[in-house]
Symmetry: C2
Subunit: 288 residues, 2 copies
């Protein structure tokens, strides 16, 4: 991890996995989530921390989830259901259930379908935050399968040459078994840096590097700069750039990959894409 995102040792408070997990379970139960789903949600968050993915761990995410349960944008008891289905596919209406709880269930469906037809692909609409995308992809590993997951996020990233955010950071994750070696696991936002990395940088008072964000006119900032103001809507001091940063360095490729995630996670799920007004928060796709 780049030093911009590393917590200073003197600021760090170390906690053990087991009590952290118990605490998180207790918090989810308090939000009205049932016991099994609370344990699952805690596993997703704590697994992220244990893998060093602090952007999507307890300290960076739980606060937002609590706020969501509090203001009604998250449903603690979602009546999620399969809306359409074929031999190798399914489409789920998540009923505003938190993605870290519903996506693992969708991935189980994908794995079962893959056992039968060779591929299982499940899209999710009316969905909420997926957490660390690779958690769901990695579920395929114990079945000796390749897992994929991606999520179409609210817009915070500029298209190449654009000045208004039209795309989410739209991560793609893939996990592949590797026999006696550790599995291959990829999980990355298709923006130059993940949106949650900006939150980390703000907390740590770090500068951003050249090519990560643009100014309010959409021009890539090619020198060190402060993180843009939080919140993607309303006045912000700047926006994230696609991976590649500038057109010359290939930002059109990051732009296209984010659009692909919007298509497979957003439009194909029936949930809409990043810039689509009134869309639900997130659309996901998982596959085995």
């Amino acid at each position: 991890m780049l030093k911009q995102f590393m917590v200073n040792e003197e600021d760090a408070i170390m906690v053990q996995e087991a009590p952290l997990r118990e605490t998180v379970i207790t918090v989810f139960k308090k939000m009205g989530v049932n016991d099994a789903d609370s344990a699952l949600a805690a596993d997703v968050l704590v697994t992220a921390d244990m893998r060093g993915v602090e952007t999507h761990g307890v300290s960076n995410m739980l606060r937002g989830y609590i706020a969501g349960y509090g203001n009604g944008t998250l449903n603690p008891n979602p009546d999620w259901k399969i809306v359409r289905e074929t031999g190798a596919t399914a489409n789920i209406d998540c009923d505003a259930g938190l993605g870290i709880i519903v996506a693992p269930k969708a991935m189980e469906i994908a794995i079962e379908k893959a056992k039968n037809t060779g591929v299982g692909m499940v899209t999710m609409r009316n969905a909420r935050h997926m957490g660390m995308a690779s958690y769901h992809a990695m579920m395929a590993l114990e079945h000796d399968m390749i897992g994929v997951s991606m999520t179409s996020c609210p817009p915070g990233v500029l298209p190449t040459f654009g000045a208004e955010p039209r795309l989410g950071t739209n991560p793609i994750a893939l996990a592949a078994p590797a026999d006696k070696e550790p599995p291959f696991v990829f999980d990355a936002a298709m923006s130059a840096v993940a949106g949650n990395k900006l939150g980390l940088a703000r907390r740590l008072d770090s500068k951003l590097l050249p090519g990560w964000v643009a100014n309010a006119e959409g021009e890539p900032i090619m020198e060190e700069t402060d993180p843009p103001a939080p919140g993607y809507e309303g006045p912000a001091s700047g926006y994230l750039l696609p991976v590649g940063g500038t057109r010359e360095l290939g930002s059109h490729k990051g732009y296209g990959l984010m659009a692909i995630v919007d298509i497979l996670g957003g439009i194909l799920s029936g949930g809409g894409y990043g810039a689509n007004p009134g869309r639900p928060n997130f659309g996901h796709m998982v596959a085995a």
Copy 2:
């Protein structure tokens, strides 16, 4: 397209589509390819030119294909066959047939499977050059399906922090229908620039931009530079970088995406990955 890759008007020789197509068909027939396959090969090459993808059109590719038929690395009459099959998947041994001819047949199989199960995914081993990857993905459009294609290429790209090429340029293509709008079509190497773009730059005597290639020690060259010497094996003056260019700008994401293509196109097909000694030239994956 960046000016680095544009032919000067005074050097350009314009030809019409129909006679170009006839000429290419005649050349393939002369190589021993049957009538239907010759027409298909010409359609792939000419379609690339008509879409402005000169890297993968007649002038840049046909010469190499002729050499391949001449030296026996390309089989003009491949006995390609399905080796393994499930409801939603198939694996094809291409018998050293040219990818621009075999991949469309594989895509037809993927489309038929998608009609039945919702997804069709076909991997190809013992395969040769796929041409413009999006040709195959776009075949799905007339069936109102999303098409995907990718190809694991011989190594010419450095991993992040690496000094030896371990990955192919490994393009990913996706085509999605868009009702009354033109379809969405993405097709890009996961290197900073496509390998064939270096050939174009050499022909046009263009400089490469910062962040596209590294020097022989693997250090990204962050100023304008001449294209590296042709040929990826043996002494080269430099190698391609992943999209992103440097670690700070996100080259680890390009590196990971190239590895994903090696997994889905190379390893899953049974053909091996970019750096695997003795592997056949290419492994492909197409899906609908």
